[in-house]
Structure formats: structure tokens, C-alpha cells
């Protein structure tokens, strides 16, 4: 699609095929089930989460898990543009992958996958935000993925980061919404899988959860899995969410504690 509003490169350009030398064939876990980065199967990665990154926004947050880096800005509550009167507030999310964030260069304009992911984040966050206190106004959440290390763990990180940004914006919420992801590889559950593991997975599960109210706000699973494995994956994801929950609380309270 010729986009006249940007500097134009050549019409067609294709990414080179990357030849991986033989020895670097990825073997996902060694004999005593340690993963390449030393974690075992059910551990999640350490999370770096910081608020107040964007001075212009009402609330903002930046999250870094392994190599996934996501920035999120919350604007609002502000006047709704939609013509119909709505007693409840409206939530609008826009996820944008930076062109350089994935293996293959992404088109700068929003494509179908980004629209779908935005819809998933809306459904994950709406139950936790008290929209009935903000009639006729809209909360805009803009998420930019700077680096994507596995789409499932990236979406989970985006939900966690957006929830912290909304709390940072001072908007009334029922609870924070940590989200975690798991991959099914060879009948086993790999928590928080990265890009290499994701290429060998037969299925994945993303779960966003409100730990203190014990309610699941969103669940997305694909892949050929039997019931027992699914329920075990639920348990592991909810435990992971509780761990992430404490990181979120610290990130929100840190700036207050050291100003006091």
C-alpha cells in the first residue's frame, strides 16, 4: 500500500533467510529440566516494572521481561467522541508493535492482529475498572511494544503494564490485573516462554486474573490439550499472577515511599 505520508523505500523488500549454524540448534531443556536461561519449567522471569515514564500522560508504565520491552500511556478520563450518550465510561485500547520490534519488520500502520490484541486487552481490563463513576468520558490506553520476545508472553506483559498505568493515572479500580502466559511443548507446561520456545509450542494459554477478588478477567488458550493439563496450567498461571501482583504493588508504591 503506497503510504504517501511517509518516506518511501523500494516497493518490495524481503528479509534475508538467516542461516543458523549447526551447533546452535535450540534444545529447549537439558537433562535435569533446566531451560536455556537456567529457569526450570514452572519459574517465571524476573520483571522490571516502572511507573511515571511519560510526563504528558495521566498515568504511564514501562515493563521489561527478559527481552520484551513495552511502554504504556493512559490518557483520560476525557470527553467521549462517540455520539451516543453512555451512562458508563468507555475504554479504548490501541496496541502498536514498533516496526523493528519483531523478527520480520512490521508495517507501520495498524493491521488486523493488532486490532484483535487490542480487543483482548480491553476485555481483560474492563472488569477491573470502575467505569460507572465516569459517565460520558473515555479512558484511552496506548501500548507500544518496543521489543517482542514471544507474542503470548508479550500480550500478558502488555495487560500487566496497562493495569499498572491505569492505577498510576489515579483512576478508580476494583483490583490490579496481572496476566501470565504458558506454552504447551511436548505435553509439558513451559511458563513465560520466549520466542525460541514459542516456535516449538503446540499450544499456549494466556490468563489475566484479579488475585484479591479471586476472579479471572480474561482467558485465551489454543492448542490441542486435554482437560487435566489445562486445569494444571490454570493453577500455575494463577500462582504466577499472584507473584506478579506483588511486583505491581511495589512499582506503584515505590515513588510514594521515597518521596515521604
Amino acid at each position: 500500500m503506497v503510504d504517501r505520508r511517509r518516506i518511501q523505500g523500494p516497493e518490495v523488500s524481503v528479509a534475508p533467510i538467516i542461516i543458523k549454524s549447526a551447533d546452535k540448534r535450540t534444545c529447549l531443556k537439558d537433562e535435569h529440566s533446566r531451560r536455556r536461561d537456567g529457569r526450570n519449567l514452572e519459574d517465571i522471569c524476573p520483571i522490571f516494572l516502572k511507573t511515571g515514564l511519560i510526563s504528558q500522560a495521566n498515568g504511564s508504565a514501562f515493563i521489561e521481561i527478559r527481552r520484551t520491552k513495552i511502554a504504556c500511556g493512559v490518557y483520560g478520563p476525557r470527553q467521549t467522541k462517540i455520539p451516543s450518550f453512555s451512562g458508563k465510561g468507555n475504554l479504548n485500547v490501541e496496541i502498536k508493535f514498533a516496526p523493528f520490534s519483531c523478527q520480520k519488520r512490521r508495517q507501520p500502520y495498524r493491521d488486523a492482529q493488532e486490532k484483535d490484541l487490542s480487543q483482548l486487552v480491553i476485555e481483560a481490563l474492563v472488569p477491573s475498572i470502575r467505569l460507572d463513576l465516569l459517565p460520558k468520558s473515555t479512558i484511552d490506553i496506548y501500548i507500544t511494544v518496543l521489543e517482542n520476545d514471544g507474542t503470548a508472553s508479550c500480550l500478558a506483559a502488555a495487560i500487566t503494564c496497562a493495569s499498572v498505568a491505569v492505577a498510576d493515572a489515579g483512576i478508580e479500580m476494583l483490583d490490579l490485573v496481572p496476566a501470565s502466559s504458558a506454552s504447551y511443548i511436548g505435553g509439558e507446561i513451559y511458563m513465560d516462554s520466549d520466542l525460541a520456545e514459542e516456535q516449538h509450542e503446540t499450544g499456549y494459554l494466556i490468563l489475566s486474573y484479579m488475585p484479591s477478588l479471586k476472579e479471572v478477567t480474561h482467558i485465551l488458550q489454543s492448542g490441542d490439550v486435554d482437560l487435566a493439563l489445562t486445569t494444571q496450567a490454570f493453577e500455575q498461571c494463577t500462582d504466577a499472577c499472584s507473584k506478579i501482583y506483588s511486583v505491581m504493588i511495589n512499582s506503584l508504591l515505590l515513588p510514594i515511599r521515597d518521596t515521604q
Binding site: D3, R5, R6, I7, Q8, G9, P10, V12, S13, V14, A15, P16, I17, I18, I19, K20, S21, L53, I54, S55, Q56, A57, S60, R67, K69, A71, C72, G73, Y75, E94, K96, A98, P99, F100, S101, C102, Q103, R105, P108, Y109, D140, Y142, I143, T144, L146, E147, N148
Partner: protein
Amino acid sequence: MVKNSLAFEAETFRKIQPQEYLRRFIQGNIRPDGRSLSQFRPTTVNQSCITTTNGSSMVRIGNTTVVCGIKAEVATPKFNSPLEGYLVPNIDLSPICSPKFKPGPPGELAQVLSENLNNLLKSASVLDLTSLCIKEGIAVWVLYIDLVCVNYDGNIYDASVIGMITALTNVKLPEATFEESSGLVKATEELSVTLKLQRIPYSVTVALFDGQHLLVDPTEVEESITSEQITIVFDEVGQLCSIWKVGGLPSSPEHLKQCMNIARERYKQISMIVKSSI
């Protein structure tokens, strides 16, 4: 502990009377964020922070934050210049960085900035395009330089130029071979080539207020109030690469001279910051 009411008076006053608000500060020879007129905001640069790119950098000038990522792809060269690769710079001012920008295709400011970045690369011939050639007439490298603004607090052009140049310096192009049989270009990860830049330009932007005060490195608040901006680009040997003065009241050559001196000092500071960030 909500902010005391005096701070609120200022906020309301700024919304109602912006010019007057800034004039009060300038008369006291200080700026709303506490800096003196010729003081730059703290600038930090860190390099190759994004692994899915061939070269990347993140630049923070005060609150303004720009992330630059370069991805290399392969394309057929233009007919009349079979040896030359492509450099495609684009800046994306998405709604995340400021409430000013609306979602959708790039707005006017983003297009003007992209055009200026493109002109700077071409006219100052920062990189010899023939060094991007894989197979003459058949396959050349295309470097997509994408700048994402994460936080817009004024003076975005300076941050973009520093980001772009630093990212270009740490680009690692994989060793590419053109396979006759499959017509595909295969690249191996191990041996990689770095680019040799012919020139390292850095830009400095100064805002002109009421026709006589020179505000260095303006923030978003100052940018929206003052209408004139002078941008001067120097390279490492002190040669001028571009001057860009837009809009507002007519200014005299003395202003330009002052700005050039400020720009020369600032150039040394920037190159020191970049060297220390490698």
C-alpha cells in the same frame, strides 16, 4: 497532600494566559522548569538496547524519549544507481507520547520531521550508499530507520538526530551472499559488518521568545508558546550541515551567530555523552 493551591493557581493561569505566564519567568531570567536560558536538559544515550534490530539506540533529553531501531532488508537497486542501497528514515509520533497527537496516519509535524531527517542524510551524505551493495544491479541492503517517540516534551528533532546517528554507528549487517540457484539472499549470523559513517552531524534547536530571548533546548510548554525556532546542525569538523529557521517574527543575523556559537559548544557535549555511552 494534594499540591498546594498556589501551584493550582499557576496551572490555571498557564491555561488562560500562556504568553504572560512565560514572560514573567523570562524576566526573572529563569524558565518554568527551573533551568537558566542557556542550560540544556540532562541528556542520556544508551546503545544497542533492542536485540531484534540490526542497530538501535535510545535517547533521553530531559523527559523527551526517542527509541531508534534499524532493520535491514534486501531489495533490488534503482535502475540508474545499481550500486546504491537505500536509507529510509521515518519518525512516528504516536498518540502514546502526547495528547496532542491523534491515532491514524502520521500528522504534519511527523511528516516534516521525517523529511528533514531524510534531507540531512542525503545532503550531508552521512553514509556512502554504495557500501550497502550485496550484488551490483541485483540485490542491495535497505536500512529502515524507524524512530518511535515514547515521550514528547519538546525538542524532538535533536533527540531524533542523535538517536539516528548513534543507531547507524552500531549497525551490524550479517554477511550476505546472493545464491544464484534459488535467487534468495542468505545471511549468516556470525560474521557481521559495521557501517563506516563519513560524517557525524548533531543538531541543536533554540527557541526565540519575544524576538530577543534565546531559549535553548525548549520543552513542550515553551515550544507551544514561542513561534520561532532555529535549528543548526554541525558536523565533527565544525562544518555546517543544515540551518532551519521557521516562522514567527523576523530575526537578525546576530541571532544566527549566537545560535551557531551555542551549537558548537553543544556539539562537544553531545559527542562526549555518546562516547561515554558505548
